[in-house]
Amino acid sequence: MTETVVECQPGFILHHRRYRETSLILEVFTRDYGIISILAKGVRKAKSRTAGLLLPFKALSVSYCGKAELKTLTQVEAQPIHTDLTGLALYCGFYVNELIGRFCHKHDPHPEVYADYRDCLMQLTRVMRETENPAGFTPLLQVEAVLRLFELNLMQHIGLALLTEYDAHTEAPINTDAQYFFQAERGVIEHVAGTVSGKTIQAINDKVFTDTQALSEAKYIMRNVINFHLQGKPLKTRAILAKIYQQL
């Protein structure tokens, strides 16, 4: 492999683990190069100037180099983008990071996903600060709406868009007064006993969630879709978040 030198690349740390006594191995989601493993040497020392920067959910500008799969961090700076996940939003951040890790492969650039991810973190930051909101949603529901939007966009950008534009049987447009069955591999089929309302399908297509029913049905659909594509390897964060939510 030839030497790679990348300067000032926008990126977010998805996950980090300790390496030896004083170092960290970072999984960084970069804008133009996808997910890259980067070794940050000596940053866990008492007087490290970068330890406070190398945290997930912070917009960074990273420089790195190296020939091998594991690159070496040469410089890092904060970008002037305000993302500060607290409380509920922080837990959702872990979930979103796992989604990225599972659906975007290493070295596979996804600038659109990167932009959506950044927006998602900014929205999650805002949601926890606002006391009022137009739809009258609680912070938990607002957070859910942000997550659904992110999931929908993610699926679309990586070529796994939902089949919800038309009825899979009749190819008729979505009827907002009807009920539908949803299957990840086939799409939506109108049926009187369907578990999802036409309104929700329309909300998914429009990517606008304004009521609690649409949100909870959309959650069911997205869970279905994600599980289908993960082929039996469940997300680690989901079970834990469910457990955490029970307490909050």
Binding site: H15, G52, K58, A78, L90, F94, I244, Q247, L248
Partner: protein
């Protein structure tokens, strides 16, 4: 040839210590065998006994050879003030500073959903059981200032609220003697958010 046999095995085994590479392991092995065989004997005996006897304190889960550690059993400590830390070494650091008069609870980790570590894996039900006994009035969350540490503190503060306990998070920011010029922006923004009135 040298790295075969018992000597080689000893050197290799010493490498399991943090910060010890093959070079220092080699030095240690030769030192123990040549210069201080008595010391080596003591080390090996103590290590064996420690391994055999040291367990987790039933109350705080710190490392101790007692069923309930000295701090938890002490009548001079405030048993209603609980400091929650991630590791026994964190408790040790707080203890060395000698200003804290309460008791500890060791998590032995932190919530890390991406690694599959949730409240159950951390044994937080044990902490909740202690909250439920009503003996604790206040908790101080001294988990690390990482996202996992924050996630852990937030969760435990909610548990505490359920039992009407007062919960606080240790402050983060500019270290004593620290100059702003040398502080990273993350720490600095924490310091601004955690500012205090000067009246």
């Amino acid at each position: 040839m040298l790295n075969k046999g018992l000597l080689g095995q000893l050197i290799q085994t010493l490498c399991c210590l943090p910060g010890v590479g093959p070079k220092s392991a080699q030095r240690m092995a030769f030192y123990l065998l040549q210069r201080d065989r008595q010391g080596a004997q003591r080390l090996s005996n103590t290590l064996l006994t420690a391994l055999e006897k040291i367990q987790h304190c039933q109350h705080c889960r710190t490392l101790t050879e007692l069923t309930v550690c000295e701090i938890c059993a002490s009548s001079s400590r405030d048993q209603s003030l609980l400091c929650v830390v991630e590791t026994p070494s964190d408790a040790w650091v707080v203890e060395q500073a000698a200003f804290f008069k309460g008791v500890y609870f060791i998590l032995h980790g932190r919530l890390s959903p991406l690694d599959g570590i949730g409240p159950d894996e951390l044994g937080l039900d044990l902490l909740e059981q202690r909250f439920a006994t009503g003996s604790i009035k206040e908790i101080i969350l001294a988990t690390n200032s990482t996202v996992e540490g924050e996630a852990t503190a937030y969760y435990i503060s909610h548990l505490a609220k359920k039992y009407q306990l007062q919960a606080s998070r240790i402050a983060q920011g500019v270290p004593i003697g620290g100059e702003l010029e040398f502080i990273d922006s993350g720490t600095l923004s924490q310091a601004f958010m955690g500012r205090k009135n000067l009246d």
